[in-house]
């Protein structure tokens, strides 16, 4: 309990940020047309690839001989990059298709 309250106090601003982001996510997305569900899902998928920043930090701080961290970290950065790059590119391709709409 004590640990929890101190955690709460210490991360209070972060918790506020979380709550605001939750509301913001909900507000921003409600009322999307069904046709955009797939690209939106894919775009959101690319955004959570931001986890790669954690991987870069972990990798960049790994000690020289620490192969556990180095190897897993390397893997993490590769996977994170896949998520980010693949996600944005695939979304763009999808939306390019939709874009043809404008050839009206």
């Amino acid at each position: 309990m004590d640990q929890l309250t101190s955690f709460f106090n210490g991360n209070y601003h972060l918790i506020t940020i979380v709550i605001l982001s939750v509301f913001l996510g909900i507000e921003v997305i409600s009322r999307v047309p069904a046709v955009l569900h797939t690209p939106l899902m894919s775009g959101a998928n690319a955004i959570h690839g931001v986890v790669i920043i954690g991987a870069i930090i972990v990798m960049g701080e790994a000690k020289d001989g620490d192969f556990f961290s180095l190897i897993l970290g390397f893997l993490a950065v590769v996977l994170g990059t896949l998520n980010v790059v693949g996600g944005f590119v695939v979304t763009d391709r999808m939306l390019e298709m939709f874009g043809k709409k404008k050839k009206k």
Binding site: G25, H48, G49, E61, D66
Partner: protein
């Protein structure tokens, strides 16, 4: 708590350029999501978010400082970035339009795995983390692992390498797994076991979480995968947010949570568009209904078949033809042939339009993407309401591999699992021609009475082959 304050004050000594980069990142994510949800701005929104991501990544690489010293291992980092970029771009560029959802699922799994690995390394490196930090590490690991394992299964299902399997007592097993994960996590985080033991349990949790992810997705119908992927998407978002807590990193936090909540809402919206509840999707009750509903072609009367030649004549002498594409058209990869048929009919002075149901196919917007790929002009694609309005002036409706989206049970039979879903009301047209390979039901696994109605005639065969033959036939009319 002390360590948190220390972490915070250390963070303050970071270059404020990095903080600013992160701020830009957060803002672009919000703007990107906002723009992605409007048709005209979607593409630009995606690019904006990508730009913010690049800024955040390079900011981290070059400006991040901890205990006053920057990051090392640049060679490794860049090697990994290059590999990921090359492979990711190639995979994303090469993939078939129709295989998009499985690609998204795979990328989502990568993100989940990344979160899992980060947690593992942090656990490995910090011998005595505070309870708060440990909690974050363990939760991030669990969610990342579930998302990773689940996404891989979803991917396998979508590309057909994994078949739908209802495990007997599956829900019970999942429940037990869930309980086990929670129990072990409490033991590890609460410090109730020896450090060595905790270490073992930690990897035990990882294994259980992976199993949970697998078993959670396994029984869900293959075609419900878009919904499941959206859900797993929001899981990965939450996992990324835990990383944000771990490194007191604002852009991971906002990005992750935004996706987490947006993904949840999107999941719900998708369910609504299919007229189903999320619970219904997760328990996979369509699979159950399948056995009941398809129980027999009962004696619903007889259906008429129509010959290729008759079809060609009917089409050639019509004034207006509406093509209704469905999942079968995508499976048969017949979009280009379909577009050709349209052109041939146009040459004969026949007006051709397409009636697009919002959930035709297997992902939202599937038909739009498919037909756009074949260069069908956008103004020929009618949304459901418009299509239904024009149905009365249509002479021939040509249904190509669609089934549920034209099933009159949705309007007429309150007991039908799809009751209440709006459909394309093809019976308002003069003639209805249905192309599919057999009398088998579609996605919802239910009989379609339309095929037995007086106006309908069946034209059996693979959509692509039938269309090719039809075009040849038309040229002789």
């Amino acid at each position: 708590m002390e360590q948190i304050i220390i972490q915070y004050t250390e963070f303050l000594s970071t270059n404020s350029f990095l903080l600013f980069a992160y701020l830009i990142g957060s803002v672009t994510f919000i703007l990107g999501l906002k723009m992605l949800s409007h048709p005209e701005t979607a593409r630009k929104g995606n690019l904006i978010a990508a730009g913010g991501m690049i800024i955040s990544i390079f900011g981290t690489i070059f400006l991040y400082k901890h205990h006053g010293s920057g990051l090392g291992n640049y060679a490794w980092i860049f090697a990994a970035l290059v590999i990921g970029t090359v492979v990711g771009t190639m995979a994303a560029k090469k993939v078939q339009m129709t295989a998009m959802p499985e690609m998204v699922s795979l990328f989502n799994g990568m993100g989940g795995a990344c979160a899992m690995l980060i947690s593992m390394i942090e656990y490995h490196n910090d011998a005595t983390p505070s309870t708060g930090k440990l909690l974050i590490i363990v939760l991030g690991m669990i969610i990342g692992t579930v998302s990773f394992a689940g996404s891989i299964i979803a991917w396998g299902k979508l590309n057909g390498s994994i078949k739908d399997k209802t495990i007997p007592g599956g829900q019970m097993i999942n429940f037990l797994l869930f309980g086990g994960i929670i129990g072990l996590a409490i033991m590890v985080v609460g410090g109730f076991v020896s450090p060595d033991m905790a270490h073992m349990l930690f990897y035990g949790i990882t294994a259980l979480a992976a199993m949970y992810g697998i078993l959670f997705v396994m029984p869900i119908g293959g075609a419900d995968m878009p919904v499941v992927i959206s859900l797993l998407n929001s899981f990965t978002g939450v996992a990324a947010a835990f990383g944000g807590f771990l490194y007191d990193n604002p852009v991971m936090l906002t990005g992750g949570i935004l996706v987490g909540s947006a993904g949840t809402i999107l999941t719900i919206l998708m369910c609504k568009a299919m007229n189903r509840s999320l619970k219904n999707v997760l328990i996979g009750s369509f699979g159950a209904a399948k056995t009941g509903g398809a129980a027999g072609a009962k004696d619903q009367g007889n259906y008429k078949e129509i010959s290729l030649n008759d079809t060609a004549v009917l089409l050639a002498y019509a004034q207006k033809v509406m093509i209704i594409p469905g999942y079968g058209l995508a499976v048969a990869q017949a979009q280009h042939t379909c577009h050709e048929l349209e052109k041939v009919l146009n040459e004969k002075g026949v007006e051709v339009v397409y009636g697009i149901h919002p959930v035709a196919g297997r992902m939202p917007g599937h038909m739009n993407v498919l037909l756009a790929e074949a260069d069908v002009p956008y103004e020929k694609l009618l949304e459901m309401e418009d299509a239904n309005d024009q149905m009365g002036t249509t002479n021939v409706v040509m249904i190509l591999g669609a089934n549920d989206v034209v099933n009159p049970a949705a309007k007429e039979d309150p007991n039908s699992p799809i009751y209440g879903m709006p459909i394309l009301e093809v019976e308002k047209a003069d003639h209805v021609i249905v192309n599919k390979r057999s009398m088998k039901p579609g996605y919802a696994g239910i009989e379609n009475e339309l095929f037995f109605r007086p106006k309908s005639s069946m034209l059996f065969g693979d959509a692509k082959k039938v269309l090719q033959a039809l075009i040849a036939e038309l040229k002789t009319v």
